[in-house]
């Protein structure tokens, strides 16, 4: 238990008044945002931010680098799109169906992958997700490279008309906040502390009597389900599901977002996702090739601030009081 309690003392952030106030301001800003920015752009950021948070749950708090998270994100997008378009499911049920599908896939892929560590774990997840991407290319229900198009947004629970941009935005925001809260709750629970113990020293966690594999699998499935929640929501927001979301490049992109923002921080992945999506959107009409610029930013990040944007800021804030004293 020594490791667990040490973490309890060190890391569990008791919600201080400052962070509560900051959180309230952030949520207020998110509520007001669609009046200043373009709603679809914001929704796209929210979906990717939730995806990055789900990914961060695994790499930041368990230390598992999954290179196959696109399978859960894109897979859920396909399940939701198919369920809503072909079976005529209500959108929220469709999104939950997508998340459940992603969780089931997470159970299978996780079950195979968690037996290995480090690069082997990354390679197995990559291989399995590539397998899934090829299945998506082949099976008829995904419509190959055309994708599932024209998914109706419909009415949430039969009442709220999601074709209105604002109502769609607030539903997406609610799902996003739910997802982030879920990650926060998982991380700051006894379960989360054991995950962190595994991250720091797996052998010691084993010697303390924890069945490490089960904890890892649990975290993997939760991460997959949350990634699926993001993917399913994205399918409803954009009204399609295509191969782009299941390809390995998407797995790479979510790693990029998390790295840029700061691995192992709560808001890092959100900031990273916002940055990457904003670049993709606003640079699209510039003369400069988008991919090159994102690459340069990534290199700068790795060379100069390895903790990521939020990670470095938190580090600075930690150091400051010490310097003053």
């Amino acid at each position: 238990m020594a490791v667990g309690t040490q973490y309890l003392a060190e890391q569990q952030p008791k919600l201080s008044t400052t962070s509560l106030v900051l959180g309230a301001i952030a949520i207020a800003a998110l509520i007001a945002a669609p009046f200043f920015f373009y709603p679809v752009f914001l929704m796209s950021i929210l979906c990717f931010a939730l995806f990055a948070c789900a990914f961060n749950l695994l790499i930041g708090y368990v230390g598992l680098l999954s290179f196959g998270h696109a399978a859960f994100f894109g897979g859920a997008a396909y399940y939701t799109a198919h369920a809503v378009k072909v079976w005529g499911l209500e959108p929220l049920t469709g999104i939950l169906f997508g998340a459940a599908g992603a969780a089931a896939m997470g159970l299978i892929i996780g079950f195979i992958a968690i037996r290995r560590q480090g690069i082997y774990f990354a390679m197995i997840t990559l291989a399995l997700s590539q397998m899934f991407a090829f299945i998506c290319l082949q099976v008829p229900f995904t419509h190959g490279e055309d994708g599932i198009q024209g998914v109706p947004r419909g009415h949430l629970l039969g009442i709220i008309d999601l074709n209105q941009p604002l109502s769609m935005y607030y539903v997406t925001l609610a799902i996003f906040l739910f997802g982030v809260f879920a990650v926060w709750r998982i991380v700051n629970s006894p379960f989360g502390n054991i995950l962190k113990a595994i991250r720091e020293n797996e052998r010691r966690a084993v010697s303390l009597g924890y069945r490490v594999d089960r904890y890892k699998l649990g975290a993997f499935v939760m991460s997959a389900a949350l990634a699926g929640l993001a993917g399913g929501t994205k399918a409803i927001v954009f009204q399609f599901a295509t191969l782009t979301d299941v390809q390995w490049q998407m797995s790479g992109e979510v790693i990029l977002m998390t790295l840029l923002g700061g691995i192992g921080t709560m808001i890092g992945p959100i900031v990273g996702a916002g940055l990457v999506i904003a670049l993709q959107n606003y640079l699209a009409s510039s003369q400069f090739p988008v991919t090159v610029l994102i690459g340069i930013i990534f290199v700068i990040c790795v060379l100069l601030f390895r903790r990521g944007i939020v990670g470095e800021i938190l580090e600075l804030m930690k150091r400051k009081p010490k310097g003053n004293v």
Partner: protein, 402 residues
């Protein structure tokens, strides 16, 4: 006051006249968006050169339509349908774009056309291949220019058989796009009396084609049909050249390949390749003149995607002029009715499902010693009349035609 009155009256008259004038064109500007891949695998296929082609069309039209100015905006969708869709929405809602064109890759074209149908805006696709655009997912405001998988299959499949290539072996990319190309092409090969002696499927983005090519060679076929696209086709052609397959008398037929890709591959590897395109710069004086202007602007010769994009912009502006407004219904009606006569084609017409029908051509890539200049790359083998190249509207599965 007595002096002021007539002045005020005159002023108000001019203001009223101006208002009446601008009323027909929203915001007094016609905005056209070019949305395509400018940094990824299709950057040569369409890319920035398509934007240049669109600007050329605006210049040639005179820079103004019905007194309103014309503006071209462009964006790189990075082959991501979600990026494309959010840019398109932003263009329509915030930037008052009236029509979106080019739209390389099928998933993007279908997504943006679907969105535009909902928003009642015009899309004119040149860069995507799928017949779905004017088939099951057709839109009253969606138009498809330049080419589609059906035209490529008829062109390369049907016309090549008449040219002596009657025993086919397919090298097919192992996914839906590959299957549909193979299936459609086989149909035309057989209907013209040719035979298909075999086929092999290769995984998407394969790098080693030697075993597939050897199978093709030993099958006794005289045509190897490549039902794949982009880098896959280029790699297969390169390796076929290394194996000396084309020197052995077997012909290679690429189903989706344009001048830009042939240039990238070089004549040494691409010689003898048969392909279908809708436009070539050395066909006549008018094309040569157009290509020269295009080359001065971009540094390269255009393919059918670039000239097709020129044509869509030109036709759209003509339609706005004819309708006297940029209101979607009226412009779409004019687009459906007007014949297409410009640098791209002399006898184009638009079917009720939005498909623009015009003559396609079967070309063969020249040997290096036959080529007289840098861009002298094609020999024309046959003309495929538009009515044969494209699907009839009634057979397309488009709801609008029933």
């Amino acid at each position: 006051m007595r002096v002021l009155k007539p002045i005020l009256f005159a002023l108000s008259c001019t203001v009223a006249a101006q208002a009446a004038y601008a009323q027909n064109i929203s915001d007094n500007v016609v905005k056209i968006g070019i949305l395509n891949d400018q940094s990824g695998v299709y950057a040569d296929f369409g890319g920035k050169s398509s934007v240049a082609a669109a600007q050329m069309a605006v210049e040639d039209f005179g820079g103004k339509v019905n007194g309103a100015s014309i503006e071209v905006v462009n964006a790189d969708h990075q082959n991501k349908p979600d990026v494309a869709s959010s840019i398109a929405r932003q263009w329509y809602d915030a930037d008052k774009v009236d029509a979106i064109m080019e739209l390389t890759t099928s998933s993007v074209a279908l997504a943006v056309q679907g969105l535009s149908k909902e928003k009642k805006k015009i899309t004119m696709t040149t860069g995507a291949a799928t017949t779905e655009l004017t088939g099951k997912q057709c839109s009253p405001y969606g138009f498809h220019w330049a080419y589609d998988t059906h035209a490529l299959a008829v062109g390369t499949g049907g016309a090549l058989v008449e040219n002596g290539g009657n025993k086919w072996f397919f090298l097919t990319a192992d996914y839906a796009f590959g299957y549909s190309l193979e299936e459609q092409t086989s149909k035309f090969v057989k209907s013209k009396g040719g035979q298909v002696v075999g086929s092999v499927r290769h995984p998407l983005a394969a790098t080693d084609y030697s075993s597939f090519l050897l199978q093709a060679q030993s099958s006794g076929a005289n045509v190897i049909g490549m039902a794949n696209a982009g880098l896959d086709t280029a790699n297969a052609i390169k390796q076929a050249a290394e194996f000396g397959i084309t020197q052995g008398g077997t012909r290679l037929a690429a189903l989706l390949f344009t001048l830009a890709e042939v240039k990238g591959l070089g004549l040494q590897s691409a010689q003898g390749l048969t392909l279908t395109e809708g436009w070539y710069w050395d066909q006549n004086d008018e094309n040569r003149a157009f290509a020269k202007r295009f080359q001065a602007k971009t540094g390269k010769m255009p393919n059918m995607i670039h000239v097709g994009t020129y044509s869509t912009v030109m036709q759209y502006l003509k339609a706005v002029q004819k309708a006297g407004t940029d209101e979607t219904e009226a412009v779409a009606k004019a687009l459906h009715e007007m014949p297409v006569q410009d640098a791209f084609t002399k006898n184009g017409k638009v079917l009720p499902n939005g498909r623009m029908v015009y003559d396609m051509y079967l070309f063969q890539v020249k040997k290096p010693e036959e080529s007289k200049s840098e861009w002298d790359m094609y020999k024309q083998l046959a003309t495929i009349p538009g009515d044969q190249a494209y699907m009839k509207a009634a057979e397309s599965g488009c709801q609008l035609t029933q």
